[in-house]
């Protein structure tokens, strides 16, 4: 101590030293910021791609089923708003009187808003595909048709109407289009059943893919799983480490697939509305209605997105728990 020389207070070197303020050391972080199962070890790109495709196809199926259902409901509604009375001509039948009687009887029923008899020109147009143009209806015993228009949602007692017509107007029959309605209902239900089956198959394929991806991720993280197992982690804790990664992957894949399907439906909707006047457009719209998807259709697509993401997360969690339970089984 005694040998030490006193500091040179006035030297520039010393004063510079004195003025130098040491920067405060930033404390090093204790945590790496990594999750226990590193994100990059869970193979993501391929899984996101597969989930994306599956969700896209599932959304297309859902959209198609929704459109067919809407069209079928529309047809059904159109048909159910009209019934037809047919009067077959007899030798001694006064057709004009029979038409008046039938109209009167129909109009006595609640819910019947209008009865219109098809004139000769309209009837000839209806028969033109079978009997050709220039038809002279006076020379043929062609039945007369009466269109009975119903009010919205009205359901008159057709059985009673049919009974009264048969008694009071000989040769008349009432067609309430039930056969057509039944066929349309069956067709719509079949489409929904096919769509649901395809949708379920896609979900099953997604689940299977996720199971394989999870097993792959577990095999890639065998060291981590072993250590967690030996330090006393239960299967739920271990599965949570994988589940959060798979939820993100599922969300990414499902979002891209859903977005793709929504864009496709918007494009098809624009295309179909642009080709409404063309024969092709008319044929397509006659079969499927317009390609515009209702808001509920888009809503269900968002539900599919969430469903696929959750399904991915839960499938991976379930797979990990099963694998870990096997690992923890002493009698294996």
């Amino acid at each position: 101590m005694t040998n030490e020389s006193p500091p040179e207070v006035n030297s520039p070197k010393t004063s510079a030293k004195q003025k130098t303020v040491k920067p405060k050391r930033q404390p090093k972080p204790l945590r790496s910021g990594q999750s226990i199962v590193p994100r990059e070890t869970v193979a993501g790109t391929a899984l996101v791609f597969v989930i994306g495709i599956m969700t896209f196809l599932a959304c297309l199926t859902l959209g198609a089923v929704s459109m067919v259902n809407t069209s079928a409901a529309k047809w059904q509604n159109d048909i159910s708003r009209e019934v037809t009375i047919q009067i077959r001509p007899f030798d001694d039948l006064e057709m004009e009187k029979a038409i008046k009687d039938a109209s009167r009887i129909a109009l006595t029923f609640n819910g019947v808003s209008k009865v219109t008899a098809l004139n000769n020109v309209e009837t000839a147009r209806l028969l033109e595909p079978w009997l050709g143009a220039g038809l002279q209806l006076d020379e043929l015993p062609v039945p007369k048709l009466l269109t009975v228009t119903l009010a919205d949602g009205a359901k008159p007692d057709f059985a009673k109407m049919r009974e009264q017509l048969e008694i009071q107007v000989p040769g008349s029959t009432l067609d309430d289009h039930r056969t057509w309605v039944d066929r349309l209902t069956t067709m719509a239900l079949t489409m929904v059943a096919i769509g649901t089956t395809v949708f379920l198959l896609m979900m099953a394929a997604t689940v299977t893919t996720v199971i394989f991806a999870t097993r792959g991720a577990m095999a890639g993280n065998k060291d981590v799983v072993d250590v967690l197992h030996f330090v006393g982690a239960d299967s739920k804790f271990i599965s949570r480490q994988f589940q959060k990664h798979f939820l993100i992957l599922g969300l990414k894949g499902a979002a891209s697939g859903t977005l793709g399907a929504i864009i496709l439906f918007i494009i098809l909707g624009l295309w179909s509305s642009g080709s409404l006047a063309t024969p092709e457009g008319d044929q397509i719209s006659a079969l499927f209605g317009t390609f515009s998807l209702s808001w509920s259709g888009y809503f269900w697509m968002i539900i599919v997105l969430l469903l696929v993401a959750l399904l991915t997360a839960f499938t991976s969690s379930f797979t990990v728990q099963r694998q870990v339970n096997n690992l923890q089984n002493y009698r294996r």
């Binding site: 204790l30 990594q34 030996f230 006393g232 982690a233 804790f237 002493y330």
Partner: protein, 219 residues
């Protein structure tokens, strides 16, 4: 705490690697498990850790017959057993601090509650200034001590250590042994598997000697 009765183990259809083992690891006891390489020390430790089931005989852990333990109960049993692996088994992507804190994280404890305990333990094993680094940066001895700290952090009832001084020089081996002795004094049963005779000579403790799959006990 751990008891074996006529335990035998064979892998596949080969000969028995462990035969007729009968012994107990008593509460608050200290023992060395020794024998030449290939004598079955690691297999015996794995049987004690319940990561292997015996071909025959009875294994009891904490008074419970091992074969009756259901998979859901296994984590609770494991939490009472600290284990130091020969190859450390530290997770390279986590810091030393996170590796040591892992058993507490697994038990659902909040970091605020255990942060100081982990720091204190790392100081105790001489890794106070290395808690921020990742295992690949640590030396063999440091990894060894980090693995020991991880095994001790939740004060297990039993500590099983497989060749804990196999990768370190004699002074560090003595230091690690002192850690185990201190742990034993605080109430933990310790089983150290080693073939290092000089290490065993430093502390007068029970010796379980494995030779050709058979066990001799020197109290």
């Amino acid at each position: 705490m751990i008891s074996f009765e006529n335990v035998g183990l064979r892998y596949g259809i080969g000969r028995e690697v462990l035969s007729d083992l009968s012994f107990q690891v008593a509460p608050n006891s200290f023992q060395f498990l020794t024998g030449p390489s290939g004598a079955g020390k690691t297999s015996l430790l794995r049987l004690m850790l319940l990561s292997l089931s015996p071909t025959r005989g009875l294994v009891k852990v904490f008074g419970k017959e091992a074969s009756t333990i259901r998979p859901q109960q296994m984590p609770i049993i494991r939490r009472k057993i600290g284990v130091v692996f020969q190859d450390f088994r530290l997770l390279d992507h986590l810091t030393t601090y996170e590796n040591v804190a892992l058993p507490l994280q697994v038990r659902g404890k909040m970091e605020l509650d255990y942060r100081q305990d982990v720091r204190d333990l790392l100081d105790w094993v001489g890794l106070g200034d290395r808690m921020h680094v990742h295992p690949p940066v640590l030396s063999g001895g440091e990894k060894q001590r980090a693995a020991i700290a991880r095994a001790l952090i939740d004060q297990p009832d039993v500590l099983l250590a497989d060749e804990p001084t196999g990768n370190v020089d004699p002074p560090l081996a003595r230091r690690i042994l002192r850690l185990f002795i201190e742990l034993h004094r605080s109430g933990t049963s310790v089983v150290i598997a080693t073939h290092d005779l000089s290490l065993m000579d430093q502390y007068d403790a029970r010796r379980l000697v494995l030779n050709s799959g058979r066990l001799q006990i020197y109290d």
